[in-house]
């Protein structure tokens, strides 16, 4: 009997040491997991920075940011990023012209007008729209939207900013709709009731009470949408073309920063060439643009948030 108890105590003790070990090892393991996310950021920044610096030892910085010709191939390459930036901004502006009105109107409808029944049907559909892979949107822009637009604009080239930008906008509608709706649903009902009691119509409640109260969330959803449009890759590389042109003409073929990166990696630019390093410089510019937009969006939703 006595032996048994001793063994039991021993077992308990060894269990305890195992227990204290896992008790300490578990948080350490989880900490390591979360450090990986920091490593990913450091990896992105360092990768872009190092290769971009190599790029700038070959191409002067001033030429890069003020040059108006982007022609990285052939004998006489020229690395002025402005055409790529203008292409990106053109796509972004077209996308926002589509996404902001439709996204905001959908949000207002879902939050202020729609019955519970309608909301239950429409919200999942918008989620499906948000989940469609961008390559599918690109295919749709190229094989359906462009031919459709060509009916109205007869000299529209196959690759153009208009159809790519429009579809990028469609892609962003669900995002703006759902984020704006979240912001509007968090406006307390007492404010709506107050306005209705004063004799406002539904529309006046929506536009003069709810939208202003939720404005910080709404604006920050717009900014996030802009960031998505800037970083969108597949739609533009399928449908917008690959001719970097400094233009504001939406019917022209253009190239975005993301489109350029895809073009180069597909063309298999050999490691070590200036063209190879240029994708990192372009990637860096892209990263800075989207980072700025994301920080701006966070700042807006924090700084102007109204608490109820």
């Amino acid at each position: 009997m006595a032996v048994n108890v001793k063994e039991l105590m021993k077992e308990k003790k060894s269990n305890r040491s195992l227990q204290t070990f896992t008790e300490k090892a578990a948080p350490a393991f989880f900490l390591v997991c979360s450090i990986v996310s920091i490593l990913a950021t450091i990896g992105i920044v360092l990768t872009l920075l190092i290769e971009t610096i190599t790029f700038f030892t070959r191409v002067p910085f001033m030429e890069f940011i003020t040059g108006t010709t982007w022609w990285p191939f052939g004998e006489n390459p020229s690395f002025g990023i402005l055409p790529l930036i203008s292409g990106t901004l053109l796509i972004t502006v077209i996308a926002m012209i589509v996404a902001i009105p439709f996204g905001l109107a959908s949000a207002i409808y879902l939050s202020e007008f729609a019955s519970e029944k309608v909301r239950k049907v429409v919200k999942p559909i918008l989620e499906i729209l948000a989940g469609i892979p961008t390559i599918v949107y690109g295919f749709f822009a190229l094989t359906f939207v462009t031919p459709l637009l060509q009916v109205f604009i007869s000299d529209l080239p196959i690759f153009n900013a208009l159809s790519a930008g429009g579809i990028v906008g469609v892609m962003i509608i669900p995002m703006i709709a759902s984020l704006s709706e979240d912001a509007m649903s968090s406006v307390p009902n007492s404010m709506r009731e107050g306005a209705l009691a004063m004799g406002s119509t539904r529309l006046e409640v929506a536009l003069k009470v709810v939208v202003p109260a939720a404005l910080s969330g709404i604006i920050s959803s717009f900014v996030l949408g802009i960031s998505r449009a800037i970083g969108e890759t597949m739609i533009v590389s399928v449908a917008a073309g690959s001719t970097p042109t400094l233009t504001l003409d939406v019917t022209e073929s253009i190239q975005t920063m993301t489109g350029y990166i895809v073009q180069v990696v597909l063309g298999d630019a050999s490691y070590g060439t200036t063209t190879y390093y240029s994708i990192y410089a372009v990637g860096m510019t892209l990263f800075l643009f989207t980072l700025l937009m994301n920080l701006l969006s966070q700042y807006i939703s924090r700084r102007f948030k109204e608490d109820y």
């Binding site: 393991f29 950021t41 429409v122 892979p133 119509t201 529309l203 597909l266 989207t290």
Partner: protein, 292 residues
């Protein structure tokens, strides 16, 4: 004496009500626009690609001839990449979420991790591709392999899983913790036997949704150099590969109409896979999520 002109008030009121009704219709039409685009897109893809979709399409390799082209390599490539991405991203994502919710003290370092994750979620996917190209393909010499592609994807979807897992943990009420501690359980025992079981449905739903995003991603894998013409099934994680979206991209880029039709067929397969995954996620959420 009548101070209020009833007619005038009535008119003004009517105008406002009519305006409200008109705008309601306008908002409704705007909402329908997104749905209409989705309907046209689905109709277009299915009517074009469905006749081509048969067993041969699923079991043939890519080909120069549209009538012989298939997606066998792409399907297996996608499965291989997911076999790397799923475990890595779920372990990292759930681990990070548990750390942030259960163990992290509220200090600068924790705030930094939080801010970092929300910024990472906003980085364009093509930039993740550049990271993968430099670090996994070149620096760690993995080549353009399944491994490199899977790890790149893991980093891309990790932030999504973290956020979903955090929400799942946060929805567990405080009394569950208190009951566990009151029974003499340690922190780790509480996490493992109370928190994790209760949070798993939410974590699983979020992970499946994140993986369905990864299946449709094209840009990062294009950037690390996944090939578009592969005529074999990858045999190990060191092999080169292609995935479904890249195959679709390749066919979309060709001028011949026939290739657009098989691109449609490929898109149908991709969309069916996504809808299947989303249904599973919704099913898990409805079936297993507890209400406290």
């Amino acid at each position: 004496m009548n101070l209020i002109d009833k007619q005038l008030v009535q008119n003004k009121m009517n105008n406002r009500i009519i305006k409200s009704r008109i705008m309601r219709t306008v908002f409704f039409l705007a909402t329908s626009f997104g749905i209409a685009v989705l309907a046209v897109l689905l109709y277009r893809v299915f009517s074009q690609g469905l006749p081509y979709l048969d067993w041969q399409f699923l079991t043939n390799f890519a080909s120069r001839f549209p009538e012989e082209a298939g997606i066998k390599a792409a399907i297996f490539g996608t499965l291989w990449v997911m076999a790397v991405t799923a475990p890595v991203s779920i372990v990292l994502g759930v681990g990070t979420a548990i750390y942030l919710e259960e163990y992290a003290k509220e200090n600068k370092f924790t705030r930094f991790i939080r801010m970092n994750i929300s910024n990472l979620a906003g980085v364009p996917s093509v930039v993740f591709g550049l990271l993968g190209l430099t670090v996994f393909v070149r620096l760690l010499e993995m080549g353009r392999s399944v491994m490199a592609g899977g790890l790149t994807m893991s980093l891309l979807i990790m932030p999504i899983i973290v956020v979903a897992a955090q929400e799942a943990i946060r929805s567990i009420p405080q009394n569950q913790y208190e009951a566990s501690y009151a029974m003499g359980a340690t922190k780790w025992q509480t996490v493992r036997r109370v928190i994790l079981p209760a949070a798993i449905p939410g974590m699983l739903t979020g992970s499946i949704l994140a993986l369905s995003r990864a299946i449709g991603e094209t840009a990062p894998l294009l950037t690390i150099g996944a090939m578009s013409f592969v005529a074999y099934v990858p045999g190990s994680i060191r092999d080169s590969f292609t995935v479904l979206p890249i195959q679709i991209y390749n066919w979309t880029g060709r001028p011949q109409e026939e290739f657009h039709i098989i691109a449609s067929a490929g898109i149908i397969v991709l969309l069916v896979a996504l809808i299947l995954m989303n249904s599973i996620a919704v099913f898990i959420r409805n079936k297993f999520s507890k209400r406290y």
